[in-house]
C-alpha cells in the first residue's frame, strides 16, 4: 500500500529510528543491570536477610541493616498516602462534579501548579514553615519528624492523585449518570453509587501512582524528617494494654490512636534520604557504596511493582 524507503539514506534512517525507538526499554534494563552490578557485591559481606532485616544501619562500622530505613520509608509513605487520598479523592469529586465551571477553571491549574513546584522548594517550605508550625501546635522538641515528612509528601503527591482521579471520574460514560438521575437518584447518590464505583480502577491507579511518587521522593524527606537512622519506636506494648484496660470505649480508641501515631512524632530516615545524604561522602566501590546501590535496587523493585499494579488496574483498554 505504501512505498517503502526510496533510497539507502531513508532505509538507514528507519533502522536508526528503530534503535532509538526501543531506547526506553534498553534504558530500563540498563538501570536495573547497573543497580544489580553495583548493589549485589554488598551481599558478599552481608547476607541478604541480614541486609533487609538487620536493625542497625552503621555504615562506618560496616554494618548494613536497612530495616530502620525501610520502616522509615514505609511509615512516611503510609501516612502521606492516607492524607493525600483522604484529601485528594474528595477534591477530585468536587472539581469534576460539584464545582461550577468557572471555579473549576481556577482550581485545576492551581493544583497543577503544585505539581510543577520543584521538590527541593517544597522541602524548603516544609523545613522553615511546616516543621516549626507542627512543633508549636503539638509541643514537640523538634519539628523535623516523620509527620512533617508525611504532610509535605502528601502535598507532593496530591496533584498526581487529584488529576488522575478527576480524569477517571470524567471518563465514566455520561449515560450512566443520566440513567441514575432519570431513576430519581440525587446528585450525591449518583456520585456515590454510580460514578465512584465505575471509576474505581482509575482511582486505585491514582492512589498507586501517588504512593509510588511518595516512596521515591528524596529531597523533601531528606530536608524535613530529621534523618535519624533508628527503628521507629513504639512505646512498650504493655503500656498500650494498660491504657486500654483503664479506659475502654472512646478513651480506648484515643489510646489506640495515640499508640499507633507515636512514632510519627520522632525523627526517621527513609531509604531515599540515606542514599542522598551518604552517597556524596562515600569511598567509591567500598562496601558502603555497594550497600547504597543495594538500597537503590530495593527502591527500584518496590516502585516497579507499585507502578505495575497501577498499570494493571487501568490497563486492558
Amino acid at each position: 500500500m505504501q512505498r517503502r524507503a526510496a533510497n539507502w539514506a531513508e532505509f538507514l534512517g528507519e533502522k536508526l529510528l528503530f534503535c532509538f525507538g526501543i531506547s526506553a526499554l534498553v534504558l530500563l534494563l540498563l538501570i536495573f543491570l547497573m543497580l544489580l552490578k553495583e548493589g549485589v557485591p554488598v551481599f558478599q559481606h552481608t547476607a541478604p536477610t541480614a541486609f533487609l532485616l538487620g536493625h542497625r544501619w552503621l555504615p562506618l562500622s560496616d554494618i548494613f541493616g536497612i530495616l530502620p530505613l525501610l520502616l522509615g520509608s514505609l511509615l512516611v509513605t503510609l501516612a502521606a498516602s492516607v492524607i493525600a487520598l483522604l484529601l485528594g479523592i474528595p477534591t477530585a469529586v468536587f472539581i469534576s462534579e460539584v464545582a461550577p465551571r468557572r471555579l473549576r477553571e481556577v482550581l485545576k491549574p492551581l493544583i497543577e501548579m503544585l505539581a510543577a513546584v520543584p521538590s527541593v522548594a517544597l522541602g524548603f517550605v516544609g523545613l522553615v514553615v511546616v516543621g516549626p508550625l507542627l512543633r508549636e501546635w503539638l509541643g514537640l522538641d523538634s519539628g523535623l519528624t516523620a509527620l512533617t515528612g508525611a504532610v509535605t509528601l502528601a502535598f507532593m503527591s496530591l496533584p498526581t492523585i487529584v488529576s488522575i482521579a478527576d480524569d477517571a471520574i470524567g471518563a465514566v460514560p455520561s449515560s450512566y449518570r443520566d440513567a441514575s438521575l432519570a431513576l430519581g437518584a440525587t446528585h450525591w447518590q449518583t456520585i456515590r453509587r454510580v460514578l465512584l464505583p465505575a471509576a474505581r480502577r482509575g482511582i486505585f491507579a491514582a492512589g498507586m501512582l501517588g504512593i509510588g511518587r511518595a516512596i521515591g521522593e528524596t529531597m523533601t524527606v531528606m530536608m524535613v524528617t530529621g534523618n535519624a537512622a533508628v527503628i521507629p519506636k513504639w512505646p512498650p506494648l504493655c503500656r498500650f494494654w494498660e491504657a486500654m484496660a483503664e479506659f475502654p470505649g472512646l478513651e480506648g480508641f484515643r489510646a489506640t490512636l495515640d499508640y499507633l501515631l507515636a512514632p510519627y512524632f520522632d525523627s526517621v530516615r527513609t531509604m531515599t534520604a540515606t542514599i542522598g545524604a551518604e552517597m556524596g561522602e562515600v569511598v567509591w566501590h567500598s562496601g558502603h557504596y555497594h550497600a547504597l546501590f543495594a538500597i537503590g535496587l530495593v527502591l527500584f523493585l518496590i516502585t516497579f511493582f507499585v507502578n505495575l499494579a497501577a498499570d494493571l488496574a487501568v490497563g486492558r483498554r
Binding site: Q2, F18, I31, L35, V98, V120, R213, E217, G296, F304
Partner: protein, 284 residues
C-alpha cells in the same frame, strides 16, 4: 428532604477538602513572594557566593542550571524525538512494542534518586574519560534520561493527533513513509511536541537528587568553561543553603527558592503559550 440535606453536607465536606488542598498553593506562592522578593536585587543575581557562602549571590547556580537545561535539551531531543516518531509511525503491533510501552510507563515511576545512582555508576565512574566525571555532560545525560518518558509520550501523542487523512494524502501523492513522516506529520505535530518537551525540561531544571552525584558541586569559584566541568545548580544550592550552612540569612534562602520556582514556572508558562500560539496556526 433528608437526602437533600445529606447531599449538601457531603458537598460541603468536599469543598472544604478542596480548600485544604488549594490554600497551601496560594500560601506558598505568597510566602515566596513576600519573603523572597526583598532579597532579590541585581547584585544577588549577578555575583558568585563569597567563600563561607553567607555573603554574595547565586550567579554560578543560575548559570549552572541553564547549562544543565541546555544539555538536557540536547539529550532528550536526541533520544525522545526519534523514539516517539518510531512508536507513532513505525512500531508494529507486537510483543516488542508492548514491552517498550510498558518500559516507558515504568521509567516514569523510577525514583529520581535511582537515576542519580545510575548516572553516578555509568557516566561519572564508568565513562569518566569521556564525561570528565562529575560534569555538565554527566548531569545532562542523567536528567535527559529522567525526562525521556515525558518527551516520548508527548511526541507520540502529538503525532497521533495529526489526522490520518494528511498521511493518506501524502502517500497518495507517491511519498514514502519516511517522506510523509518528516515533511507532513512532524511539522503538524510540532506544537504538541514542543509543549511536552518544555514541560519535561521544567521538571529537569527543578530536580536535585539526580544531579547531586553527577554534576552539582557545593561551591565552585569559577563558572564552567567546558562541558566536562562541574557546576553549581539552583536546586542543589537551595538544599545546601537550607540545610548545610548554619545561620544562612533566611531572606537569601527565600530569594534562592523564589528564583528557582520562578524559573520553573516561567518554563511551564512558556509551554502553555507555545501551545496556544502554534495551535492558532493549525491547518486542520
Amino acid at each position: 428532604m433528608r437526602e437533600a440535606i445529606r447531599q449538601r453536607m457531603w458537598f460541603a465536606l468536599f469543598a472544604s477538602c478542596t480548600a485544604v488542598v488549594a490554600a497551601p498553593v496560594v500560601v506558598i506562592a505568597g510566602l515566596l513572594l513576600w519573603r523572597g522578593l526583598p532579597a532579590l536585587d541585581w547584585a544577588f543575581l549577578s555575583t558568585p557566593p563569597a567563600p563561607g557562602m553567607r555573603e554574595g549571590g547565586i550567579l554560578p547556580a543560575i548559570v549552572g542550571t541553564l547549562w544543565l537545561a541546555a544539555g538536557t535539551t540536547a539529550v532528550a531531543l536526541a533520544f525522545g524525538l526519534p523514539a516517539g516518531i518510531y512508536l507513532s509511525e513505525y512500531a508494529p503491533r507486537g510483543a516488542l512494542t508492548r514491552a517498550v510501552r510498558l518500559a516507558i510507563v515504568n521509567l516514569a515511576g523510577v525514583p529520581s534518586i535511582v537515576y542519580g545512582l545510575f548516572g553516578l555508576a555509568v557516566f561519572v565512574l564508568l565513562l569518566k574519560r569521556v564525561t570528565g566525571g562529575m560534569s555538565i555532560i554527566s548531569g545532562s545525560l542523567t536528567l535527559g534520561f529522567l525526562i525521556l518518558p515525558v518527551v516520548i509520550t508527548a511526541t507520540e501523542e502529538a503525532l497521533l493527533a495529526v489526522p490520518q487523512t494528511l498521511r493518506q494524502a501524502s502517500v497518495a501523492l507517491g511519498a514514502t513513509r519516511w517522506q510523509t513522516t518528516v515533511r507532513v506529520v512532524l511539522p503538524n505535530a510540532a506544537p504538541g511536541i514542543l509543549t511536552g518537551f518544555i514541560i519535561g525540561l521544567a521538571r529537569a531544571a527543578g530536580e536535585t537528587a539526580p544531579i547531586m552525584f553527577t554534576a552539582a558541586y557545593f561551591y565552585l569559584r569559577h563558572l564552567p568553561t567546558s562541558l566536562q566541568d562541574g557546576v553549581m545548580a539552583l536546586p542543589y544550592h537551595l538544599y545546601v543553603v537550607a540545610t548545610q550552612i548554619p545561620n544562612y540569612p533566611a531572606a537569601k534562602a527565600w530569594g534562592t527558592a523564589l528564583v528557582l520556582v520562578a524559573l520553573v514556572f516561567a518554563m511551564n508558562l512558556g509551554a502553555v503559550l507555545t501551545r496556544a500560539r502554534l495551535r492558532r496556526r493549525r491547518r486542520w
